[in-house]
Symmetry: C2
Subunit: 214 residues, 2 copies
């Protein structure tokens, strides 16, 4: 009974996601849905990515948070168009929320739209937004057991960005296991190791993202 309700919600969401997708494609806009746990470093990765790509791509951002606008202010400081969604409690973004805020972005003037989802390694993976690619950020401090414990997120994502590698000497995380388990769930997933703090690995990641567009 409960499952039925959920499946109807997901179907309605998929229809709306398809409409978003059409709007993106009409404008030649490449859209990425960035997901990960609270504190995995999604906003920091977004800042580093914008800095790396801004000279060559016109980038816009949708920030999803339960409440507050700290992240949108961080992104706005980089002088790119940004809209903040506050879900007021909901644990994921859905396609309808995205549809509503698209009017607040200059879509015709953008090449790449990055949507930062709510910090949550579970629910966002179930809701398509109309994006072309999902990406997941995982911090090395979260431990190496996460892909097998939260498989859907890794199965759905085109890339896994392993963040905070500057902290590797101070934690017991086995990155080889993270890579192995992510690939066992999703053999096509692209793996990156980065540190937003030191800048390590950012260039390779940003370059791959830029090339994914075409």
């Amino acid at each position: 009974m409960q499952v039925k309700v959920v499946s109807r919600i997901l179907q309605a969401n998929d229809r709306m996601a398809e409409e978003n997708r059409k709007r993106f494609e009409e404008r030649g806009l490449f859209v990425v849905n960035l997901m990960g746990s609270p504190g995995s470093g999604k906003t920091s990765l977004l800042e580093a990515t914008i800095r790396a790509l801004k000279p060559r791509l016109r980038i816009g951002v949708i920030e999803g948070d339960i409440m507050g606008s700290d992240d949108a202010e961080r992104i706005g400081a980089l002088d790119v168009p940004v809209v903040q969604i506050n879900t007021g409690g909901a644990c994921h973004l859905d396609a309808n929320m995205i549809s509503v805020v698209l009017a607040d972005l200059p879509l015709e003037e953008l090449d790449l739209l990055i949507i930062e989802n709510i910090g949550n390694l579970v629910c966002p993976a179930e809701f398509n937004l109309g994006e072309h690619r999902k990406m997941v950020v995982l911090s090395v401090t979260e431990g190496h057991d996460k892909p097998l414990k939260y498989p859907l997120m890794f199965e759905e994502s085109s890339a896994l960005v392993i963040n905070k590698i500057d902290l590797l000497p101070h934690v017991d995380t086995d990155i080889a296991k993270v890579r192995r388990d992510a690939l066992s769930l999703n053999p096509g997933i692209k793996l990156f190791e980065v540190s937003c703090r030191t800048g390590a690995g950012i260039e390779a990641w940003a370059e791959w993202l830029r090339e994914s567009r075409s």
Copy 2:
């Protein structure tokens, strides 16, 4: 419309939680619902807590994960009764799941039951399980903005355990802000700073937990 569905689910859950609570109280069992992000260190805190309290309290554990039984195996190695719930995708435990597995635990022989929820800083806070206390674990690597971004979790919890303080020299997290924001959301919340890796702060936390029982 969607909100209506959610509110009916929550009401049904609250009724079931009340039944669980009665079963706990009939047996004089103190029950804690341990929540936090993926990788915040819930299982490590549970291990350290069991080691600290086992000589004086009879402890049982319910492990919640989307899939797998790694955590239950870690806890079982400490020779306490443990049951693993696999939600198969659901992002939180609910009262019905708890009700179903209670038959698999020797409730009459326990003083303290700790339920480790799914790693998620959002959804678990909305679902009462019948527990006496909710507790939230936050790792210093998650950053100092988390209480204000995920307020319900901090409003609902009796204690906030700030974990991995051994990593403080390597991150930019302002712990004073975490403490201040958590207290502004919930002036009665009890704050602990611990490192499960070094053992720092574990004794004070475990002692407080033991005393909360009475």
